[in-house]
Symmetry: C2
Subunit: 115 residues, 2 copies
DNA sequence: CCCAATAGTATCCTTTATGATACTATAACA
DNA sequence: TGTTATAGTATCATAAAGGATACTATTGGG
């Protein structure tokens, strides 16, 4: 077995990891399109720097689309690309397993943060 | 929408993240049971410290089972728990999406490492 | 002229994650 | 007695991720 039998998993994690990416994706999944500041308001604890960088990374992967309106003050809208929407079922599977796992850990009285 | 609509996703990522966890899990999926040093030899670039810590975390989540034989020199076997095996379909979905995504990025001539 | 609003950058700092290296215990064996 | 094997720990160093804060451009409105 090569070390990279699981390379796809690492690619997937790479694309989704980052403290804020899943949150951003779920907001875009729910609302369709959001302006930069709408996202910022929806995720109060994120800093501008992190919001920008996470969006840039998602854009780089062509999961998120960035549309700039040439006006002042600026208007920039973010949404999932068609290609990005293909990730939704995976996010839902992760969501499902994670929710179950959280419950499992609580029921077994294990601190999920420790491990 | 609460910030935590996607909490499950974060739990899932938490459980799978770590530079070596997917690799370890795939080896255990394939071989069933492996001793510490067998894993180490199968993943040449991992340090002992990282192998230990990643296994400890997987064990903490009850995804991996650790069986110690009281003998000298020590013998410790690692395997997926029954509960841990439930994560296999998720790993496979991630693997599938990730593989497709990798291909997509290559075809579109995008450097996957940059973003 | 001054202020607000938007979508950012730039800089510096702290926290986590990962890595390199050396070290441990114990029994069998030469 | 010294050597090997196993499954680790301990310590220190570096790299990567995240956070705090201040700053920018532009234009409409008071």
């Amino acid at each position: 077995m090569q070390d990279k039998t699981c390379h796809g998993v690492e690619v997937a994690i790479e694309a989704l990891v980052g403290k804020w990416k899943p949150i951003i994706l779920f907001h875009l999944m729910e609302k369709g399109t959001l302006r930069f500041n709408e996202l910022k308001r929806a995720i109060p604890k994120i800093t501008q720097k992190m919001l920008t960088s996470q969006l840039r990374e998602l854009e780089h992967h062509q999961i998120v689309n960035r549309k700039v309106y040439p006006q002042v003050p600026p208007k920039v809208e973010y949404s999932l690309t068609e290609y990005g929407k293909e990730i939704i079922p995976l996010l839902q599977s992760m969501q499902e397993w994670g929710t179950t796992h959280k419950k499992y850990m609580v029921e077994h009285n294990i601190d999920i943060a420790e491990g």
